[in-house]
Symmetry: C3
Subunit: 354 residues, 3 copies
């Protein structure tokens, strides 16, 4: 008898427990990546090492790794960088990809996510990369198809591949190799600033980074950063004053501000810019050596100025570049069981040197 | 001097004669599949055998069959399963595909089907897979381009690759091999239930299955199933009572109900469900061993319940799987003349053992 | 400090000087093609020879030329023929392509062209093919990414690959080989008829053809062809009477009439057809041997009749075919520095026999 999963656009913190409790079908495939919370430090180590290997591998050799394997991209929201990044990563490994987007599919005809997933599996998909406006949707897809699912962003819940590429960007910046431990980033402070409340990127990073010792500061005005956010991960801090946060930070992650959301929250855009914009004066005064990150797309002149986005401290282009390497690793891990051995809840077989 | 083809969204039964009479340009390429009525039993045999071979062939070897050949998908209607199925089938054979959809093309600018076809041919397309809202459109495209055209659904007329995958699903279920004859399915009764009037799937199956001995029963209320439907193929039957139809059936094909069409027909949805929904009680009572099929996308809780769609009698996922195999065979046949030898109206060369 | 480029939909003739003056970032990559004005006769020679080689090359060998190289198509306007033509050309050379279109991307979220370009470069794109409604956009993209950019049509400015394929069509028709000189087309008269004002195709051809000795006549009513057009290239002529223009022409290029634009100009459609339509009577009377061209999509019965479009003088299908060959040459030149040696402003290395 089929059970319903409660898909929600509201409180992200409740999503996972509810969805897991409510469903009991196929076990989640160990090649899946649904949340950064599922990754152990050993997993991170394996993925980062694999990304290093794949990034510099000869393209013609890399092309043979997943030659003619089938990967589906199921995108219910539009996306340039994430979709293209996953697509290029899959093709770099030799896989055939097929894109199903909300614009041109039976999704329009009201077909359920479950049925679309089963259809893609029957069509031969060996892995589905899903972007959905619904928090928790990747769990439903994983449990109804039994396939490895890569979460490419689900509602206000998570965007784990983004957090991984952010991690790789930070490690590269610190000249730290892929063999991470619980203490690799001890002493490193990362401030995430902006619309924390709506951000799956913030959430995924806040779950991931502390595992390697990072001190995470969340920054933003109350409407975009409720006090309850500290309950997300133990030890997480809130600092409302951006200048004070910057003064303590080695890394600053700026989040995109979507004007239409601010409007609903009766938040003044000019005041927001005055208090929270990453501009040259502020960065020079309070964080002249910090790495400046942004998941993109950026709104120049709003949360970040062009001078900062294009300046020497900016790692925005590096983040995109790291995305392809991380996603090659994720896709290879999804389709090759031995790569997925080092997982928290998986059987430990053929563990890598880490 | 150019002649006009009459494109129609109305009475499918008149489409082919009119279009054939009205046009006299290039002959239809023998690698085309426009209607199931064009397929002889020998053709079916060849296609089913080819599908068997291709389905289990080593992917790297299969990739060489049509390496770098060019196949265009021209989709004037949105579609997930049919488009992806054809696309994956073409890529599995090594072909390069290019998708032209109504959403992002000169179709918007009012270019005619004829001109789009000639353009695609000039661009190097060796085969065009067409989905169109207009009954008869594939004939126009075949006759103006001279290319092999695969009909991926045209208005209310036909959807021949769907009928072929349905046939393969039935044969597999009955453990019957691909070497079919006029009597292979003698004694088998198939009920097609639902919106027969608007369904190209129903039409293609009703034309195809009797060729192998199937007894076809059409089922549905008068607005969705006019009496005239019996004139489609001699010997076809109408049974308004779904329970009585089920009691005689080895296979049941449920069709999707589109609520907006029912509204126009002043047909009560609740009454429809009461009388025609495939649910556990009804199936258990009247057809506990029948194979339950559906071309998808399904509307759970309307024409079929989740219990039946996901239950042990359901062949829905098998249908999708068979689609890729059948479409590989169709594409290979379209591009390799020897594969298309065994056609009703073609020259018989290199006939396969059948 | 970033500078602004003035993107414009208005006066094409002012676009390039302004944009070049206003920006001073990365030098334009020599593999780019932004305007036909950048091509020397030597460049044309190289490109035409390369197109000849690639067109007849064995597909499996051609596939190795750019195997696994990455090419992005960035289309802010919908397009069938140009997009598919570039896409097939890239795939024929073995490259992996990724399409970013306005329909399904961060473009919707207001991301700037500059940021989209930087993102694509970071994702690994080695060349970007751009179609944009903004005249001058390819310059901005070239200067902010440093990548080779191929202009696939920018506003009312240029469409250089179209002019090159038109040139190849004319040369083939005249049985002239690819080793062109300043005099190859001396004595050849080409009339371009229709909405010259809005046409990037007209502009690119008017800049290109005179370089090889062509006499260009522009034809159309004043609202679609202002007197100022003669200032575009020295020696260009205007002839308002289509019949008189035809009587002098070896080649006639018809342009698409977009009814909605005519409406705005209070121009009578019936009168336009009477005076400027390419129909059998007119062509037979005044240009019975001229080559009839059209960049497509054509509007049958408006600027051209079906009899002419499908008749023996029509080169419309040839134009499309030549497009793939020309675009293979352009893409190969963009990605292989030695191929781009023979450029007007580039370093002359490995110059071809021309």
């Amino acid at each position: 008898m089929p059970r319903k999963i409660q898909l929600s656009k509201t409180r992200p913190s409740q999503v996972r427990p509810v969805s897991v409790a409510a469903i009991n079908r196929a076990p989640i495939h160990p090649g899946s990546l649904l949340s950064t919370a599922d990754l152990s430090v050993d997993d991170l180590c394996s993925l980062l090492q694999l990304a290093d290997v794949l990034e510099v591998e000869d393209p013609l050799r890399r092309d043979k790794r997943l030659l003619k394997r089938r990967i589906s991209l199921l995108f219910y929201e539009s996306s340039t960088r994430t979709r293209t990044s996953f697509e290029l990563a899959a093709k770099a490994l030799g896989a055939d990809t097929s894109l199903v987007s909300a614009q041109s599919s039976s999704i329009e005809k009201g077909e359920s996510l479950k049925d679309t997933g089963i259809t893609l599996r029957s069509l031969g998909a060996e892995c589905i990369i899903l972007r959905s406006p619904f928090s928790g949707a990747p769990y439903l897809l994983a449990e109804t198809t039994g396939l490895p699912i890569l979460n490419a962003g689900d509602g206000m819940h998570e965007h784990p591949s983004q957090a991984l590429l952010d991690l790789r960007t930070i490690l590269n910046h610190l000249k730290s190799g892929p063999k991470v431990t619980e203490k690799t980033l001890a002493g490193v402070t990362v401030t995430i600033c902006g619309d924390i409340f709506h951000s799956r990127v913030a959430r995924s990073n806040a779950l991931l980074l502390p595992q390697l010792g990072v001190r995470v500061i969340l920054c933003g005005p109350p409407p975009l950063l409720p006090e309850a956010a500290t309950r997300l991960v133990s030890g997480i801090e809130i600092e409302r004053n951006f200048d004070r946060a910057l003064a303590q930070s080695d890394v600053v992650m700026m989040l995109r501000i979507q004007a239409e959301r601010l409007a609903g929250l009766s938040l003044d855009l000019e005041e927001y810019k005055t208090r929270y914009q990453a501009n040259v004066e502020r960065i020079a005064s309070y964080a002249p050596k910090a790495l400046i990150m942004h998941p993109g797309p950026i709104i120049r002149g709003l949360e970040i100025t062009s001078e900062v986005a294009d300046g020497p401290q900016s790692a925005i282009a590096d983040q995109v570049r790291n995305g392809v390497a991380i996603r090659m690793a994720l896709i290879l891990r999804a389709l090759t069981p031995t790569e997925s051995a080092n997982r928290k809840s998986g059987v430990k077989v053929g563990k890598r040197d880490s």
